[in-house]
């Protein structure tokens, strides 16, 4: 003890202590910190392949290091979720310029999408691809999801997710065929005209509730034919053309003299 007490006043004691403290904190953090989802699975070779794919297919618009150009935004920090959404649904690479990039059969295999995502994720931290548990509709609360959907999503995507028109040729797509993963990724990344709904705005649990609500709409309406669930347009067309047409036909039959 005496020796330790003597060295306490040594000139390099603060430096040694500081180093020790840093080492302990760093070690503890490495041991205890949660690993970001998706980050662990991407190997060095995936990132390399993704980089090659990127240079061949995306760099023309997004720049050789994804730094963005006049034509397309920078992809640094958009995260794997964004790539998985845009490329996985075929929206990217864009077929032609238009009001918005349309979903189409994806150009890349799932593996290639994952490699591209790994490459873009390696450029800067961003939203990761959600885990299976985060998007499991069985675990969500449909009723709460409805409240959140009504406030945040229904004005564009329609009350039951049938989609709707925006300005100048843009539109909010129908969500009936979107997989839970794609819905989650869209919320967390805010593709194209859609705003971002980050984890502070809608917590991961609330996002799962929203997914549950959307999935619950897919079994159809208890009332019968939904006519696209688009509201007064299709329902009015049906009532005025088919319904009133039948009534007119009946009146003509009643009024006509029998042969």
């Amino acid at each position: 003890m005496k020796a330790l007490a003597a060295r306490r006043h040594h000139r390099s004691a603060p430096v040694v202590l500081l180093l020790l403290a840093l080492l302990v904190t760093g070690g503890l953090y490495a041991a205890l910190a949660p690993t970001p989802a998706g980050a662990a699975e991407a190997s060095e070779s995936d990132i390399q392949t993704g980089s090659d794919l990127f240079k061949a297919n995306c760099a023309t618009c997004h720049g050789m290091s994804a730094e963005g150009t006049q034509d397309a935004p920078s992809l640094i920090g958009v995260g794997a979720a964004s790539v998985d959404f845009q490329v996985g649904t075929g929206r990217m690479p864009m077929e032609n310029n238009g009001p918005q990039a349309l979903a189409k059969p994806p150009q890349f295999t799932d593996e290639q999408v994952a490699q591209l995502a790994a490459y873009v994720a390696s450029l800067g931290p961003g939203p990761a691809i959600p885990t299976a548990e985060q998007i499991d509709p069985e675990q969500g609360d449909e009723a709460n999801g409805m409240q959140i959907f009504r406030t945040n999503c229904a004005m564009c995507h329609n009350a039951v997710g049938a989609g709707g028109a925006l300005s100048e040729g843009k539109f909010a797509p129908s969500l009936w065929d979107s997989s839970p993963k794609v819905i989650y990724e869209a919320m967390v990344t805010g593709p194209q005209a859609m705003p971002v709904f980050n984890d502070a705005n809608l917590t991961p649990d609330e996002k799962r509730d929203v997914i549950s609500y959307i999935v619950a709409q897919r079994v159809g309406s208890p009332g019968g034919a939904e006519l696209g669930a688009l509201g007064p347009v299709t329902e009015g067309l049906w009532a005025w053309v088919i319904g009133i047409g039948l009534l007119i036909a009946c009146s003509v039959w009643i009024g006509a003299k029998s042969s």
Binding site: N152, M194, F197, N201, S221, K257
Partner: protein, 341 residues
């Protein structure tokens, strides 16, 4: 001088021979129906009517069977089946009776044609004079012209009586006439911006670039009528790159690092205007397509609205939460009579 007739000359042929009025040609010869002449057709029509009644019977039975055996259940699919069967049964049950009755009347019942002559609407001179005379006699009997007070009392009573209907009717319109409530909301200095519907207060750091938050005042639940207050106080808050933001000189302090908050009630007819496109910063109203540019003071860029959306001045408090600086500086929502600007 030309010998050609003017092009406007009208040539008539045999004008002098046309009769003044056309005579009523009367009914054409009575045409018998096939069921009147052909016994086989008659039998066939009878069978068709029986068939239509049978359809009705089958429909009613279908309805009853479905009612007992196919309960709505708990799933959408079972409800749909139940509704379909009940509806189909009801339709066949009712339509069968109606169609059978019409078909019966048209083909099997006798088809005598008869004419009901329309009589003149004007009554005879005698009747008209009698009515006028009766009125005059009544007037003379009442002697109204010489009883001034009585006349005054009668007209007063008649004039006032409708008030017992009119006053409550007008008074109930809009429940109360206090219009000051249109001019303010419950936003005030220091009220935190909270997330709708969870009520979580929002930190400025949580509003990332491109985010759209649907916002209610954090003190909403303390109100006596939270839904009424919410309808006026709802706000849409977005964050954009501060370089995209064009701010008027007198509103320079109303945003916080690119975060702007605007009333969500459309200035046209009050729909919740919330279709935010984060790339163009345009906010579209779903009712009549009014479009507001949130990057430029929510000015109207398209559609029938004629005022920008009111902006809520915001800042952050000591703990980093977003708070209102004050209430809106103008009434939110559509115009009303007493609104001066």
């Amino acid at each position: 001088m030309s010998t050609h007739p003017s092009p406007t000359d009208i040539t008539t042929y045999g004008g002098a021979n046309l009769p003044d009025t056309f005579t009523d040609p009367g009914h054409g010869p009575h045409r018998l129906r096939r069921t009147d002449t052909d016994p086989a057709a008659n039998k066939r029509a009878e069978r068709q009517v029986v068939l239509l009644f049978a359809v009705s019977i089958i429909g009613t039975v279908l309805f009853l069977v479905a009612y007992v055996l196919v309960p709505p259940g708990d799933t959408a699919a079972s409800m749909r089946t139940s509704n379909l069967l009940l509806g189909l049964g009801l339709f066949l049950g009712m339509f069968g009776i109606g169609a059978a009755a019409v078909h019966w009347a048209k083909t099997l019942m006798n088809d005598h044609e008869r004419t009901d002559e329309r009589h003149s609407l004007t009554p005879s001179e005698e009747t008209r004079q009698g009515a006028v005379q009766a009125l005059q006699e009544g007037l003379a009997d009442a002697n109204v012209a010489r009883r001034g007070v009585l006349k005054g009392a009668m007209f007063s009573a008649l004039a006032l009586a409708p008030l017992s209907v009119a006053v409550p009717l007008i008074g109930e319109v809009g429940e109360d006439w206090d219009i000051t409530k249109f001019k303010h909301t419950i936003w005030k200095k220091g009220v935190r911006l909270a997330s709708d519907p969870s009520g979580r207060p929002i930190r400025a750091a949580e509003v990332t670039l491109g985010s759209a938050f649907h916002v209610i005042p954090a003190n909403l639940e303390d109100e006596e009528h939270p839904l009424d207050e919410k309808a006026k106080a709802i706000v849409l808050m977005v964050r954009m790159d501060p370089r995209d933001l064009k701010e008027a000189e007198d509103r320079r302090g109303w945003s916080y690092e690119g975060i702007v908050a605007y009333s969500k009630v459309c200035t046209h007819v009050g729909c919740p205007v919330a279709l935010y496109e984060q790339q163009t910063h345009h906010l579209l109203c779903p009712c009549h397509q009014s479009t507001f540019d949130l990057a430029d003071g929510a000015k109207v860029v398209f559609g029938p609205a004629n005022r920008p959306l009111p902006q809520l001045p915001i800042t952050v408090d000591d703990e980093g939460y977003l708070v209102a600086q004050s209430d809106f500086h103008e009434p939110i929502g559509p115009s009303f009579w007493e609104r001066l600007t």
